[in-house]
């Protein structure tokens, strides 16, 4: 009986978690002009439209540019931040750790709105820069965390050993520490890329028509059209991010990257 209840509960939770994705994917194959669930047939027509619609093509490209820069720059900053907070004890270390984690608790629209004002003040609201900066701030906590966990797991005697063999501190960092951190850095980068590419709330504030990212373009699209194209593109996004997460999990271990578990 207890076992039955347990599995029922698990099933209910799983259904609740996956139902939006399932509904979206199913409605994307609806052949008619309206969004409908359950679908009244099967057609990949809307996928063709999703791929050819110019706004989606442009915003996909924008998103790629922003994601590539934001996650890469965030990774570099994240490595430095994690290294400094893990290895050195200095005045303000706690404050730095808090600031790095702050984007997790500050509402996204607040971050977006704040950067919108900053961008307006600097007159850069029409370019990629402000979007990239916003995304860096948003993904930084995840990258830093991922690298930090890897750092905790780096055996310090390996660094000592390298120094003993004649490696200067810089060489130790480049030849020993960084290579050992690679899984954490790559994992952090992929998580950052997924978060950045699918980020909507803050992006809505800081993007212009010229720099809008895919989620923003999708939002604009639903406001004007109600056909299943939006479901099709959503389905593509769901599938590709799932794939990304799957790769991270298989190669690096999702638990480690998300810092749920340090081994």
């Amino acid at each position: 009986m207890g076992k039955f209840l347990f599995w029922t509960l698990i099933t209910v939770i799983l259904v609740f978690l996956t139902v939006p994705a399932v509904v979206v994917i199913m409605s994307s194959v609806n052949p008619t002009e309206t969004l409908a669930f359950p679908p009244k047939g099967f057609s990949l027509h809307w996928y063709a439209r999703a791929f050819t619609y110019q706004d989606f093509r442009d915003s996909f490209y924008n998103g790629m540019v922003v994601t590539l820069f934001a996650s890469t720059i965030a990774s570099v900053i994240g490595v430095a931040a994690a290294y400094v907070t893990h290895r050195y004890n200095f005045r303000g270390r706690r404050l730095l750790e808090f600031l790095l984690a702050a984007p997790l608790i500050i509402p996204r629209f607040t971050t977006g709105f704040g950067f919108l004002l900053v961008g307006a003040g600097l007159g850069i609201n029409n370019g990629y820069t402000i979007v990239i900066i916003t995304h860096i701030v948003l993904v930084l906590p995840f990258v830093t965390r991922s690298v930090y966990v890897s750092l905790v797991n780096v055996d310090r005697t390996l660094e000592r050993s390298a120094a003993n063999l004649g490696a200067s501190p810089v060489t130790v960092l480049l030849r020993i520490t960084l290579p050992l951190l690679t899984p954490g850095i790559v994992g952090g980068w992929i998580i950052a890329a997924i978060l950045s590419f699918t980020e909507f709330t803050a992006s809505l504030f800081v993007t212009s028509y010229a720099t809008q990212t895919l989620p923003v373009a999708m939002y604009t699209y639903v406001r004007e059209y109600t056909d299943p194209t939006i479901a099709a593109i959503s389905a593509l996004l769901i599938i590709s991010t799932t794939l990304g997460m799957f790769i991270v999990d298989r190669t690096l271990g999702l638990k480690r990257v998300l810092a749920i578990e340090s081994h």
Partner: protein, 373 residues
């Protein structure tokens, strides 16, 4: 307290530790240690955990800075020199092999840091692998090696660039017993072939006795004794060394009695043991602690011999193959362990049976009793 060896010419000293102390806040890890390490010797730092031996080793390597004193290598003061410029080769307890590199790259690391040219690196790394009996294993990944092989790679990596001193931090402790014995032979062999000044840290007195030219026994951050293995075993200078090296029985405190040349020790319950030698450094009527090795106690046989025959009772036997450790209880002397060849005694004298034993004080260690026991 310590028997300081005669310091030779500066050229004979590879590493000179002079008045070195190390504190961690209020905790004293090493107290005022002076230790000249001779060129080419195999020196062991021996002591229980927390005695300061590893801290001392880390200070030679440069991982820890002394709070006071200086450390010189080859006559140069290196107290403030960072580890990577010290030219020491260290083997760590967990080997610390670089997991993202092959065996060859691990061994070649020290040579690459010294900007040795490629062909020479290939040659010397292979020669070092050869020396630790891992020829042709250079292409393996570290994870593919057994514990013993990893140990050898760590050794090859530490000696390949010709360090001024080889530092070994309990390198055998992670190996199983058979492998440990084998590695002891190989380490000695390697030391003989390379002639490297070697500092070996261990808490295992067996390893220390079997491999060292000299042993430095440490306790609580201080050197207790510096001696050759044989001397350390037979002539410990204090009760710590006596009880730390090998098995030993500590007899209850006795009173030394002199009559002419003869010396005797009087215990409780009227038991008296006659001493060997004159113990000239001890006063008449002073209290002494006496330490007797199990091999100095034997069953009193038909033929007489030196030593005192004492009546005792068998408490228990521990059979060890080549010999048996028999625990006996003696009025006035308490529980004593004796070492008897073979295992016949177990049947001849079962637990509870009376036994006459001969206690030889020829190799006993007799020290002035310290105030607190």
């Amino acid at each position: 307290m310590s028997t300081q060896p005669a310091t030779g010419q500066q050229g004979d000293i590879a590493v000179d530790i002079a008045n070195v102390a190390k504190n961690y806040g209020a905790v004293v890890a090493v107290k005022q240690v002076s230790l000249p390490i001779r060129r080419g010797e195999f020196l062991t730092l021996l002591g229980p955990s927390g005695c300061g031996k590893t801290t001392l080793l880390n200070m030679i390597a440069g991982f820890e800075a002394p709070t006071a004193g200086t450390i010189s290598i080859d006559g140069h003061d290196v107290t403030n020199v960072p580890p990577h410029l010290r030219d020491t080769g260290m083997v760590f307890q967990n080997y610390a092999l670089f997991p993202h590199m092959t065996v060859f790259d691990n061994v070649a690391f020290g040579l690459r840091m010294r900007k040795v040219d490629k062909q020479k690196i290939a040659r010397e790394a292979e020669a070092a692998l050869d020396m630790v009996k891992l020829s042709g294993m250079g292409g393996r990944r570290v994870k593919q090696l057994s514990g013993g092989q990893q140990q050898r790679v760590a050794l090859a990596r530490a000696i390949v660039f010709g360090p001024k001193v080889l530092l070994l931090d309990e390198p055998l402790s992670a190996l199983d017993k058979n492998l440990r014995t084998q590695m002891q032979f190989e380490l000695k062999d390697l030391h003989r072939k390379t002639g490297l000044t070697t500092v070996f840290v261990t808490h295992d007195q067996g390893e220390a006795l079997s491999m060292s030219d000299r042993i430095v026994v440490m306790s609580k951050g201080e050197i207790q004794q510096i001696s050759k293995p044989l001397e350390l075993y037979s002539r410990p200078v204090n009760s710590f060394v006596a009880s730390f090296i090998g098995e030993i029985n500590q007899l209850p405190v006795a009173r030394l009695k002199r009559s002419g040349q003869a010396v005797a020790f009087a215990f409780q319950e009227g038991v008296t043991l006659e001493a060997e030698g004159d113990h000239a450094h001890l006063d008449d009527n002073s209290d002494v602690s006496i330490f007797v090795r199990p091999e100095s106690i034997d069953v009193a046989g038909v033929q007489g011999g030196p030593g005192n025959v004492v009546k005792a009772k068998v408490v228990s036997h521990i059979y060890q193959g080549t010999h048996t450790v028999t625990r006996i209880e003696t009025p006035g002397l308490g529980l004593l362990d004796m070492r008897v060849g073979g295992g016949h005694i177990i049947d001849q004298k079962p637990a509870g049976s009376p036994i006459d034993v001969r206690i030889s004080l020829e190799n006993a260690v007799v020290l002035k009793a310290s105030g607190a026991k």
